[in-house]
Symmetry: D2
Subunit: 340 residues, 4 copies
């Protein structure tokens, strides 16, 4: 049994709380959140103790692993302290919105040698993961094209969310830059992009975009298209396809139910999930289970600090490409980051 | 070039006229219909001569083959006369609504030795035909179950049509009894059924049904379900599946176009064809082409007189099963028919 | 929190144990099984106490509800004793393989007034349940046809299983007779059937069948086809469609994942679940949750003793129809059962 | 009846010959090709006269319309001469591989006032056309994203074909640049791209690419992704989706038949067409029929000279974007072309 301390009890923190409790090989020992009412509620539901303050949890002898689900600006500090306290760490992405600070944090954590996993949950979607395996087992042949689409949910994010997000490329884009590296087992060579605020003028007013298309060239030569939109009125639509000389593999739309209706004007099949937790709920469970397994035997592969940095570097390259309306190489960003 | 005389220029006759004209290896030489205006129209469209009377067409030296698309009560007489005149014959089903008369007609035609094909066009649907090939090549293994569904079109038949049809089992059922023998290469051993007038009370008032389910046991032991309804508001829905120890093969729904829409309440894919000619239009062309090929070299297999009789015997067994609410063996009907 | 005692820790008992433990509003207090090792294992996994003998569990003051997952021949006795002890009862189907004994058991339990739910878990499949709602809300119009297919799993049942099952109609058929009543909110008027041992000769040698087609006429006049097979090499294939004057609603195949591949010879989409627990695992959780809710407020509708009896009567009618090769009315069986 | 003269009897010319012959409102009067044997063959099949030389056909009094299906380098000259001879013109794309020469040709043809249609047959695919209508009728809302995919056929083009093609962007890309303008009823503002020779090294050796991704921003702000590959081993895979604030409409994959098989390892549905003529055969017929209608009453909209020029300008912009690895505006190309 892995004894876990959970930090941050907002939306994602509660998802982790439930998954830790449901996992037969994990135990939710303690939880911490600045809002006391949240701690009491979680304590009641899952029998975990509420920590009086953060240090109490980080220092607790009976805690093996810390899950960092607090606000983004605290990830770096908490993950570093937890690692230095010898705890295994599961940390929500990103380490920090600033690439430089993320690099520094990774450098601070690495010497501790503790198992660290970054929360790129989409890797644990069974259908997405099938693409990783199809590339790996050679059935795709020489990879030519990857197409990733993600749209939704059917809801407008709040202004506060947008302001704290680091922008759409950094906030949502990184998930797909990580997935792309995971699926292709290849590195990105260069990127270009076009972005726009199309679904919600309020997002444009905040200086952000809600729709982007990103083109990438991999080191192997394969080409990649990623399109992302913040909102789709028809639900959470995420699909990936991988195409090469050996053929095609797709991770397709996931309907809520297998129900189809017809009253004379076509066949209406059941729609998509309303939000990411409905669509990808199972991946959070699977990711946490993979973390438990990783802490125990370190044999399975999980998203690492290096993976998080790599996805973040791609995001930075895309941000430059958007600003300068040109193709940007990854080496430009790595050089810049190292120089900083 | 096969020189063809077409008899009967109603709905199905016009379909044949167009297909004969479009076939590079056939020539529509003459047409006959009691309604003179119909003959003039077809003559104008396809350059065929209108025959002054039926005998003129049947006796014409320049005509190799006769297509019988006239009303059901004339099939037997015209097909027999055409065969005796040495013409190859393509005849719409049935030979006659009376099984005894159909048997007598077949006996009269057989000695002429002319090539005869019965118009069971569904055998020429590419998707349905795939099931025939899947059974034949062994990929189904030992056959366990056949499920045939046919619903539609989205229109109510006229009272006159119903009265002349011979009843739903004989009119539409025979298509599926024929398809079943074609797909399984097996014979029916026994049948049971339930029928009802559900979509249109007017059909019930005429003493007919508009919906039936028929259960059949094949000589091999395989079981079969057939459901047919005269009307479906969602279009022409026809599907067949074949299941055995080796797996499953399905001939599925055929959409009009590959268009899908979503506006938040599911995915609406394009609907079905409105009627049998939209859905199975291509099979009439293919059936006529198969007839031409059959007349030329007699190598390909086409629905024969014996096939038409066999399907009709199954229909008679089902009619008895409906009346007596019991399982009826095919041998009961064959014995009865022979004794008559 | 509902405090539950679980009786029977075989395959289905373990499924219930896990679901009770995962349910935030239920508590697995005690478990009983004649095999002591099973009790220790469940106790270790879920912290439940093992009962020394059955009476200890049935008499325990701290237990509100009893879940009967023991062997079929014990259902009647245990359910009756639990009800008389004032416990709410969740009982696996059937009450007893003998219709007469099932009727007597229902009569013994009813006066106790305790909440009783029969374990027809398929009612809790979200896709199947959509058909129930579509009939109820009128979108099907006047019901014409129901088609139910269930095939699989890809495994041969043991001889012992077959011998204890009561035969295929009673063992698997009742699930669909229950679903049919649930979906249509109508009663069966008459039935006919054909059955055969096609997938596995060993089943025929035991006097049972592995494939059936059942035709049913509902009191409303709607017609129904049910086909069931014990084994399908392509997995657990279960589908239901409901068709009427207002259109069609289908509960379709449920794939394991949304992955499609193509290497030149078509599109290979992900297959079906290997067995009923993979396919319907979620329905067991939902059924147990519905039981908890039913015990608390008795507002939701759950499968009742009467539902179990009704499904069993249909099965008996089908058994007679098979033996006598004729259409059998439900009233024949009810009359016979009452007379017994 | 429209009397047509056909110039060029290669692959595409024969497709047109067959479609003109099958059209009840068109008549194939004459055909010309430098290869005499081709003319004799077409004359035999369709009863058209072979022209002794090109001028004879262009000057013939009995010919209303000329279809230009000869090699690309002759389009400009023949289309101009036919227009000056007062014939209506159906011309395969492009007018000329050189944008400047295409512009000059269009300027030479326009004053003749004859009806001219450019052979962008994909506009006549029923599923693609549904997207045009969905944008037009407002059901897409404010357009956000268009995704166009075209891969295949499963065959390697010859070196000669590649050399004469003008490069992949100009040869195949223009079809999608035209479709994009047709579907969106909007103009392209700017483009960027990445291209590579991935499926066939021989294509790279010739200085061409076989795979590209193109990103476009429309004047309305909508973003567009187009991916094209010369070869896909799984057949001709072409799909388009249009997404906006009102939802999604897709023109999906078109299978050859509706056949699905399962033998235990998933569901194998029928594959795609092997080449463009199988996949889009019907669009050539529909395009030619639209030409006939356009010549008669000029009411329907067909791809015009201006449409061909517009698509060609986008292709030129993309070629520059590829060379300079940057976003290129359409106005840069138009300015350059005008200045030339």
């Amino acid at each position: 049994m892995l004894s876990v301390g959970l930090i941050g009890l907002g939306t994602i923190g509660r998802v982790h709380a439930r998954n830790i409790a449901a996992n037969p090989e994990m135990h939710l020992a303690a939880a911490f959140d600045p809002v006391a009412a949240r701690m009491r509620e979680i304590a009641d539901m899952f029998g975990a103790r509420g920590a009086a303050h953060l240090d109490e949890l980080l220092d607790a002898k009976d805690i093996d692993a810390v899950v960092v689900g607090s606000s983004t600006d605290t990830h770096s500090d908490i993950a570093t302290r937890a690692a230095r306290a010898g705890k295994s760490v599961y940390c929500e992405k990103p380490l920090d919105l600033s690439l430089d600070k993320a690099l520094a944090t990774a450098e601070a954590i690495r010497p501790t040698g503790v198992p660290v996993m970054m929360g790129f949950n989409r890797r644990f979607d069974e259908s997405h993961a099938a693409l990783h395996h199809a590339v790996k087992d050679g059935s795709i042949g020489r990879l030519q094209l990857v197409q990733m689409t993600s749209r939704g949910p059917n809801a407008v994010p709040t202004d506060d969310y947008i302001r704290a997000s680091g922008g759409f490329y950094r906030d949502k884009g990184v998930h797909f830059f990580d997935l792309l590296r995971f699926i292709t087992a290849d590195e990105v060579a260069e990127v270009s992009t076009m972005g726009a605020a199309l679904s919600d003028p309020a997002i444009g007013a905040l200086g952000d975009i809600d729709t982007f298309i990103v083109a990438l060239r991999m080191k192997s030569g394969a080409l990649v298209q990623i399109d992302n939109t913040r909102r789709a009125i028809y639900g959470y639509d995420e699909r990936i396809e991988v195409f090469g000389t050996g053929g095609l593999v797709e991770s397709g739309r996931t309907p809520r139910r297998m129900v189809t209706r017809s009253s004379g004007d076509g066949f209406l099949s059941e729609g998509l999930h309303a939000n990411i937790f409905e669509r990808f709920g199972r991946t959070y469970y699977a990711a946490m289970a993979a973390f438990g397994q990783f802490v125990r035997n370190r044999e399975n592969s999980v998203p690492s600090l290096d993976d998080a940095i790599a996805a973040q570097i791609i995001a930075e390259a895309v941000v430059i490409a958007a600003r300068e309306a040109r193709t940007v190489t990854i080496s430009e960003v790595i050089g810049g980051a190292r120089g900083a």
